[in-house]
């Protein structure tokens, strides 16, 4: 099913989906408290089937707890979740793949055995899992290491083995918790391509991240999470549209009647004027500039980036925390 991004009506904290959209994940009012601390506070999520969905937020925002609730690792104190049509995620565990933030395998296992073990957890017979394990390792250029123990592998190689183990049973839904952390730029690119390929073949991918660039490049929809709440959930474009576009103007004349068309809070730096595009749009502004003989040397209208949108939606503090998270060694 093709999802028309622009057709969803805006309401509440984000964008509601049309009633004809099939959902892989639906969550309403999820609440989880730990020892009096509310980690997740009324989270609503709707993840369409076949989409790439990002959960964006700083460390400690409640991303991992939300994912754990969706996977059935923990139960919510309040609220409702439905994953692949089941309110008990464990009942559909065979159709789900999960790569947690803290990756790990049994060090004594050989690579193909590790993949077979992860497959057998999801219901694949061991013999078939072993065969598939070897095949996948070959496909991804790791065939030479199939019989190597995990403890004899580099961290990056072991992570790739675990990633293959996450996907070996061809799940309908793949959940990644901070999948890009600990990967070098080359492997981050590989993972991005893999996520796109999964979505192309109809697999729903949901991942958490604190790196805005990944979410901006990959996601159809995002949920911004801060302090356990979701102030926005919807398409990336809609998030960016929460901010008016920014105008950068350079004129030959420094003054004249055209100045009245420029907002009063515009900044003047060097030869340039910077201001938010007025709600009346670009045409009245252009007309005023031309008729006022401003002598336009350059004019650019830039759509807000996801980072600016994040700041606008979640607030300065959350944005700062997000930047700090991204800078932390993981």
């Amino acid at each position: 099913m093709k999802i028309e991004l622009g057709e969803w009506p805006v309401s509440g904290n984000g964008v509601e989906l049309g009633s004809d959209v099939e959902l892989a994940i639906e969550a309403r009012g999820l609440v989880k408290r730990f020892d009096g601390f509310t980690a997740v506070d009324g989270v609503d999520l709707s993840v369409p089937k076949g989409s790439i969905f990002g959960i964006l937020g700083p460390n400690g925002a409640g991303k991992t707890t939300t994912l754990r609730i969706l996977l059935g690792i923990i139960d919510p104190d309040e609220g409702f979740r439905r994953v692949l049509g089941s309110e008990q995620p464990m009942q559909v565990a065979r159709r789900i793949g999960y790569l947690p933030e803290e990756r790990g395998l049994y060090p004594a296992m050989k690579a193909y055995e590790a993949i077979a073990f992860l497959a057998s957890l999801r219901g694949v017979p061991l013999k078939e899992g072993r065969r598939k394990g070897r095949e996948l390792l070959e496909e991804h250029g790791l065939g030479y290491a199939a019989d190597r123990q995990i403890r004899q592998m580099s961290k990056g190689m072991a992570q790739q083995v675990q990633l293959l183990g996450t996907l070996v049973h061809e799940p309908d839904l793949v959940v990644f918790d901070e999948p890009f952390s600990g990967l070098d730029a080359l492997n981050q690119g590989k993972l991005e391509r893999m996520i796109r390929a999964l979505a192309e073949r109809g697999t729903t991918v949901i991942f958490s991240t604190h790196v805005i660039a990944h979410a901006e490049r990959l996601c159809d929809r995002i949920a911004i999470i801060a302090g356990g709440k979701v102030p926005f959930a919807g398409p990336v474009d809609v998030a960016r549209d929460r901010l008016r576009p920014q105008v950068r103007l350079e004129t030959r004349q420094h003054d004249g009647p055209w100045r009245a068309a420029i907002p009063a809070d515009a900044r003047h730096e060097g030869a340039f004027w910077y201001f938010t595009l007025p709600e009346t749009g670009i045409e009245p502004l252009l007309r005023a500039l031309i008729e006022g003989d401003a002598g336009i040397l350059s004019l650019s209208i830039e759509r807000a980036g996801l980072h600016d949108a994040f700041v606008a939606i979640a607030g300065e503090a959350a944005a700062r925390a997000l930047e700090e998270s991204a800078g932390e060694p993981r």
Binding site: D35, F37, G62, R68, I73, Y98, P100, G104, Y106
Partner: protein, 412 residues
């Protein structure tokens, strides 16, 4: 709810992984030869004990009486020796005391050359016995008996007793079965004590490897707990099979058969089967408890600190079941039969003494129920306390460990 076959399948996946990982590890050989050490130490200690025993002086009573009295006393001892139960101490004449002469027994007892344990003095009509309290109390009746025998004017005749030997009697059967009950409890306890503690550290590997979250997302936690228990039970049974086979082989090589023993009330084959089943249940009950406790621990150090109180708990359960064995028909026996973790010990002892089968079926069902309940409770606790992110308080096991360390006056 997840269907039972799915849970069982998941449990077997975990069990297979853990079983293979343990059996094919290099350290498994140490596990197999582990029981050899106490056998060796026991053997050595026994040898040393025997030598010490052989070197020790046999208990001797010194006699300090008038010459005739001393001789008659020695003759009485020779006559009575072998006709009364128990070992007779040696009699040695220290001094034939002349009329009017005195003898200081205390000096004789202090004399290192004479090395007597007690001294009989006085006359046959009024003997005296001097010695350490416990020896004096032990021998006073014997000395009185010998003196009475010695002063008797007529020689005693001892009629021959016609003996008819039978294989057994009800009283002997009951008493032997009580020994079987006690012995089986000890064996069951030793095996459980040796083996169930292993599961305490079973989840530390998964937590250390960070694989716990993958497992928790893929299969129900109680299935994971069950799988771990099955695996370690399998490992234990392999160990028991190896130790049993080696023991049997050594007996065969030594050319000795097993001594004939009175059969337990349910018969040997059924007793062996029940022994296997009750070991399984004792293992699963203790193991599920330990797995739940160990699951809370985050580090090997925490597990090590927990192992002592856990061993104490096992000992208490064993003592409780043993005490109940000595109090048949009382509420203590019923309590030990009903209390889940002592139930296997108490029921195995019962199998040695009572022939009814149905109580065992009830008890096994009861114990299975408790294994399931403990596993579910443990998995639920694990999910609530371990599988969470964000700020948290220390886990219960961590708190216990901190308490122990603080008690020892050591900075945690």
């Amino acid at each position: 709810m997840i269907a039972m076959p799915e849970k069982l399948r998941a449990a077997l996946v975990i069990a297979r992984r853990d079983f293979v990982a343990v059996i094919f590890s290099k350290t498994f050989i140490f596990f197999l030869i582990g029981p050899l050490f106490p056998v060796l130490v026991g053997g050595m200690a026994g040898n040393i004990g025997n030598k010490v025993q052989q070197n020790a002086d046999r208990p001797t009573i010194g006699v300090a009486m008038a010459g005739a009295d001393a001789d008659r006393l020695l003759a009485a001892r020779a006559e009575l020796n072998g006709r009364l139960a128990g070992q007779f101490p040696e009699l040695v004449v220290l001094k034939r005391v002349a009329p009017g002469q005195s003898f200081d027994a205390r000096v004789a007892l202090a004399n290192d050359k004479q090395r007597v344990t007690a001294v009989v003095g006085g006359t046959l009509d009024a003997p005296t016995l001097t010695g350490p309290t416990e020896r004096v109390r032990q021998w006073v009746g014997l000395v009185s008996n010998m003196a009475a025998h010695a002063r008797s004017s007529s020689a005693m005749t001892y009629p021959d007793v016609a003996v008819t030997e039978v294989n057994t009697s009800v009283a002997k059967v009951r008493s032997t079965q009580a020994y079987v009950a006690q012995g089986s409890q000890v064996v069951l306890f030793l095996l459980t004590m040796l083996l169930a503690g292993m599961v305490l550290s079973n989840l530390v590997e998964e937590k250390g490897n960070k694989i716990i979250e993958v497992l928790a997302a893929a299969i129900p936690l109680d299935a994971m707990f069950m799988g771990k228990l099955f695996a370690m039970l399998g490992v234990s049974l392999v160990g028991i099979a190896v130790w049993g086979s080696v023991g049997g082989l050594l007996i065969l090589i030594g050319g000795q058969g097993l001594p004939a023993m009175t059969a337990p009330a349910v018969g040997w084959p059924l007793f062996a089967l029940l022994g296997f089943l009750y070991f399984t249940m004792a293992y699963l009950l203790m193991g599920s408890l330990f797995l739940s406790i160990g699951g809370m621990a985050s580090t090997v150090r925490e597990v090590q600190t927990l192992s002592m109180p856990v061993s104490m708990f096992q000992l208490m359960v064993f003592f409780f079941a043993s005490y109940a064995l000595s109090s048949p028909g009382t509420w203590v026996e019923w309590a030990s039969l009903i209390f889940p973790v002592s139930s296997p010990y108490a029921m195995l002892a019962r199998a040695a003494q009572e022939p009814e089968i149905w109580p065992h079926l009830v008890a096994l069902a009861w114990q299975v129920l408790w294994v399931v309940l403990i596993v579910r409770a443990g998995a639920s606790l694990f999910r609530r306390t371990v599988m969470k992110s964000g700020p948290s308080r220390p886990n219960p096991a961590g708190l216990l460990v901190r308490l122990i360390w603080r008690r020892q006056g050591e900075a945690y």
